[in-house]
Symmetry: D2
Subunit: 446 residues, 4 copies
């Protein structure tokens, strides 16, 4: 299918300068990334976590930004047919596509300018969210971030739907990493509940990053898609935009997210910041959370584990607890005069902001020992899991590992043992990949 | 749960005269009906087709209309807990409840006045739909009526969802009898597709009547509930409000509906009126439609069977065909200068308008012979099926049959044979009732 | 100019029955009235109080209601050119025209039905206002009725504009009799103030009646025009819809209005009803209000005069006083649980509801003596002034007087003397007519 | 009056970086300008063209930007009472105040960044208009720029109102320099006409610059106030944002504007750009336009004078001609694929973009001879008039002239003679200043 699209909304009004920049993107390094992300968005129908296969399948797909005096147009050639109905692009997919143009192409020109002018990483994340019109001033706190795996059991998936349903009945909006599995279920459940409550402005926000979008293409329910430039900004967007967090069963990616939020909340500067944090799943996932809880307690201690509540097999209680937590968030923000739309008061250390490049040297250099402040350990554990995610699914790193061998991780014997147990659990529970046999991308060394 | 509700919207602005009438309803004959329908609406979570059981279960439920100078309030006592979230009535259910107040209590005072002032049955149906704000002037024809059974297989249910999905992708709105099964599936599918197309004004219209609402309580997705005073007005509302009709597998109720529309379309006065009519189901339902088709051909002839298209196991083709049909409807209405919002040009004979009381005498008196114009036969066949539906699920008639024995139907041997075969098929395929053993409420006599 | 108009809004959705009734109006008694009112509305540019002259000037103007399947259309032939811009009817005038169709033609069929079904006069007024969508539930009391003459001095006119301006700055909406002079000024002032306050939903309601519309054609600013069937219903609409009243200098019409509201408020049943009532004008009008005040005190006593406040030459104080009064109205309605949108608690006696036919016998029969309850005297004084208005400007009565001689009014010498003085004042101050010499239509007899 | 204001809209969502910048403005050079412009906006009730007097009158007025975690607040101390109603700032004035914060304080930090990143002057103007949400994509061309003096006769003022009225009836929006006189009249007339046409989204755009706002405080009707950083960007904003131009009688400022647009349109690159340009006034202004026309013909030639149409005393013809012109603009933009919202295709030479500093040396250096391309002469004539405006009303330059003596202008004898005649006409016609005696700020030398 070939088609031409005129951006509406955000990219509707461009200066000649901006048009030149966008047009220029056809031939520069952004181009390949743009094409890949666009393709992922256009293929949202099919569950997959292999961006390369997708590219192979649509070799002759092309996307071009072209100028007209009134602005720019997107020209698509050989786009996947499933994105169309009677020759017209499905509206939601069109919006996703324009979000890719906005965040991959347009924003990439802005970030360096912002940075040059002295804006902090938190300012940059703020600017990106504002540009995506995701910040709603004065709206009461009702945005819950749902984390969890894309490769989960059917039963777990239904559980995430149920939790979403009971959140939705309480008029709570959903924000996820925007893939399938635990990232789709809560949105689906909330959609139906919002319908029942006649909330036709329900928000289903998907926050992703370029390296991950191909393997977790935004599901169709996402009505606000935002692509942050890197993992660390994506995580910061989650915790500053969302008002509470629910963690469903998942794999290493989910662990990365938990360690990220715990590492931040454990910092003394954040002792007065309220972030309701619930870990939940169906009965069959009880063991999973026990293992995770044990791992956290033994590495980061009770001061970490007291930051979350584990609720097993009880969607209504999850929803009620979160609803009460959101009220506390609202009261606390009022008292501290912080905005509802962006958690400015949360302190995020550079350890959690500076992009981590998971090459072999950096992975090996991680300090996984207890001989440091707990939030520092949390930061390096987060990096370790982040690296494993990359080695599992991100094309470049999968290739790197093929070439240079497995990542080597080292640290205190005690920590390494716990880590080994946890990762083996994930492998056994098939939480590493949607399909196919899993072979680890790392080894634990002394 | 106890609660007090102030009507918004339609019943927001009442004159003192109207308030008196509504208040008066607490003690008159309308009261029991109002209470029963309200209860059904409040119990929409649970699938059931037994209104009596529901009443038994909630013996101490009460609902009262009370006056305040500003209007009326509804006072509910001991309402089913499932209708509430954190002490507040779910908004969609509240709307359904107010629709019951509007159509059962308020409208009942209006109908006799309209009739006394010379308004026809079609005017009355129009007035009720207008009062419910269901008529949208100048909106292009996009409302598809979906008929089919509430007791269908899981596979058939999923098929109705799929058809709904592909209709929804084409921005088509759905109107059904508002129960479960084939009345819920298309709405659910369309909801998700409308979300994808960012149609947040999707219409999911449920058209019902007092005798049926208890056994087919409106599903939660219905965002416009309209209760017509009797079966005949309900059927007329379907065919004048909707722009096309899709029939899924069903039981006797579905047959009643098919015979109704065929009987009307066969009338010479309607030869230029376009009503796209598609019969469809999954592979397993192919036999069902063959049987139905055979029955129609052998009783009403080819001039009836050429009015519909049968499509088996192909949701996309159903959606495309209907979409093309709607365009034809639009062109034809333009050409004939008929309104989009109400099919005034369709001729409906009194045979199809006068309420049929399915008592034993009337059922016995039906003329099921070929010795009459085909549309007359269609009218009496429609009445026969209508009576069987009543005998199956409507409390009063179930009781009547217990007392007076089975209905007796008579007619041409040929017709009776075909009818017998069809009805036995329904019984075997368990299309007569959601649960429990089915024992027929009729017998065929010579 | 010839043109065809399709009603939007209220008359967009008509049943076939209603279409027939409207169509039927072309040839019945309503027709002449409809034509006359339509013509007045179309000529709103020119100040005049002579409906006959207007009809003379546009002898070949015609208006017809015609049926199309989708509803009705209005066909205008030889309409006044000033109502058009580049061949299209000015939108505000089109709305006025459709209001005439709605209230003169459509409503006339409804009123007898309502009355036959036991609705009171107050219900009927309510129904008409509701049908015109003039009742806004839950909107806080902010509608001020402005009464006063159409034939006022330039200085007085500017004063009404200033008062309107300061009301508008307080976000107060305006309701008047919708002619020129004191009926236009406050709207004009409020328009500019609403603009400054970015109130682009400001309401400028004009309430009129068929007999008066021709002589007080709605000014262009009126964005809600409502035509009540007779004077008494028009007056009731003013006092039930509005939340406070300001009276500017005027003539006999204004006196009628003052006596109407005083007669009602003096009734014991209304002692707890709050209606802020301010009489105001520029310095030059001080004598006018002194005369009026004297007349009221001497005829109805201090219990009448304590119901209003006179404020001379101080628009800001008028606006502040009214603003405070509206707050009291709000509190009182809340306390008494009365609606904001319609003052149901106000008691209006039949004396003030039954249409008064100002023929010679009825005028002569008025009891203008103190030998009766004060509110009865107020009622008959109101009728006297009403008759004089008719004799001054309403075509039929002007003709009647030409034929049968002057009205004869009789009563207590004291009252008659006061009345004589007041009426002579009006004549001297040229408050009886916009232009031309005034010759009285009445005489005072013993 | 003291008050605290929280920005809504544009400045609602600020990053910490931006908040710091705004907060920083309290103590830097922007501060005085901000205070002065804010004061002008708050005093919009009173006609004046003397910013200094205003500052004198409100010596203790203060305005501060202060930070709260949720954003910034404006704190006003001793603000002029006329800006308030019952203790609350009039909404329109609040909007103007926030526009000043946005354009004077916020934008001043953006402009250098834009320029550093290679954006052209036209891009910068575009960015400022976009940031003010003044660009409406896809809206059909209907914005007419009205130029003319603030010191005009009552009769001329009424004429501008009438023209505005007939433009408004044609649903045309108005853009002016946002002061009084010819900048207010057309908006006032259009407001009433828009009301008649039920256009409650009418746009009344005021485009000004810091040096001029104090002497031409935005009138209350302006509902979009935009302050460009300098005169040249203000003029470019007019001609790129507006779709047609009407010039009423005025003084030197108006001459500057006419020479600006003529100089641009005369450039060969603009020969295909359509800008309807009408010069109009009442009968008494006929001589004025004759003089102007003569001056233009004799200096810039017929190729300049053929770019405009002069219409005397005929508001309807002005409106009709402009309406037809706008249609041509629309067709031409469609054909050339240019945007409706910003005239990108118009070529503006640096001569018309680089801010002109009217100091004595620069004024003396102007080349007012025919010995150069006509558009160059137009550019320098424009600068000459611009300097005279500054010397007449801008505080700094009035002071400069007091100190250093009159500006000296030189050029071809022929041109100087025509210029002298024109300027003397303005002085005689009292077009130089709203009140007080005028003494020239320039002299013509050889």
């Amino acid at each position: 299918m070939d088609i031409t699209i005129r951006p509406k909304g955000q990219l509707d009004l461009l200066s000649q300068h901006e048009i030149s920049l966008l047009e220029g993107s056809n031939n520069n390094s952004v181009s390949a990334l743009f094409r890949q992300c666009a393709l992922a968005v256009l293929s949202c129908g099919s569950a997959h976590d292999d961006g390369h296969a997708l590219l192979e399948q649509h070799k002759n797909f092309e996307i071009n930004v072209s100028r007209s005096s009134r602005g720019v147009t997107l020209e698509l050639t050989n786009a996947p047919a499933e994105a169309f109905v009677e020759g017209k692009l499905i509206r939601g997919i069109e919006e996703h596509l324009l979000a890719v143009l906005r965040d991959i192409v347009y924003i990439q020109h802005q970030v360096p300018i912002w940075e040059r002018n002295g804006q902090s990483a938190s300012d940059v994340v703020f600017n990106i969210l504002r540009n995506a019109r995701a910040l709603k001033p004065r709206k009461k706190p009702n945005l819950v971030v749902c984390w969890g795996g894309h490769a989960i059991t059917n039963n777990e998936y239904n559980y995430t739907k149920e939790v979403g349903y009971f959140l939705g009945l309480r008029k709570i909006d959903i924000c996820t990493g925007c893939g399938t599995g635990a990232m789709k279920g809560p949105m689906k459940g909330a959609t139906i509940a919002h319908g029942k409550q006649r909330q036709n402005q329900g928000r289903y926000i998907g926050i992703t990053e370029p390296g991950i979008i191909a393997s977790e293409a935004p599901n169709a329910i996402v009505n606000e898609l935002i692509i942050l430039p890197d993992i660390e900004k994506r995580l910061e967007a989650f915790v500053r935009l969302g008002h509470g967090i629910i963690v469903f069963p998942g794999g290493v990616g989910t662990c990365e997210e938990i360690l990220y939020i715990l590492g931040i909340l454990m910092h003394p500067a954040n002792k007065d910041v309220i972030v309701p944090l619930i870990l939940t799943g169906p009965k069959e996932a009880a063991n999973y959370f026990t293992a995770l809880d044990t791992f956290i307690k033994s590495t980061l201690g009770d001061e970490a584990s007291c930051l979350y509540t584990i609720i097993i097999d009880d969607p209504v209680t999850v929803a009620r607890t979160m609803s009460a937590g959101l009220l506390q968030v609202q009261q606390s923000r009022q008292k501290q005069e912080d905005a509802y739309h962006y958690n400015w008061l949360l302190n995020v250390e550079p350890d959690f902001q500076i992009p981590f490049e998971p090459n072999h040297a950096n992975m090996r250099a991680l300090n996984l020992s207890k001989d440091q402040p707990k939030e520092k350990l949390a930061a390096d554990l987060r990096r370790a899991f982040s690296g494993i995610v990359a080695g599992n699914v991100k094309a470049d790193y999968v290739y790197l590992i093929k070439e240079k061998g497995l990542y080597q991780l080292q640290g205190d014997a005690d920590i390494m043992e716990k880590l080994d147990a946890l990762l083996n659990d994930f492998i056994e529970q098939k939480r590493m990949k949607i399909s196919g046999e899993y072979s680890p991308c790392y080894e634990l060394v002394d």
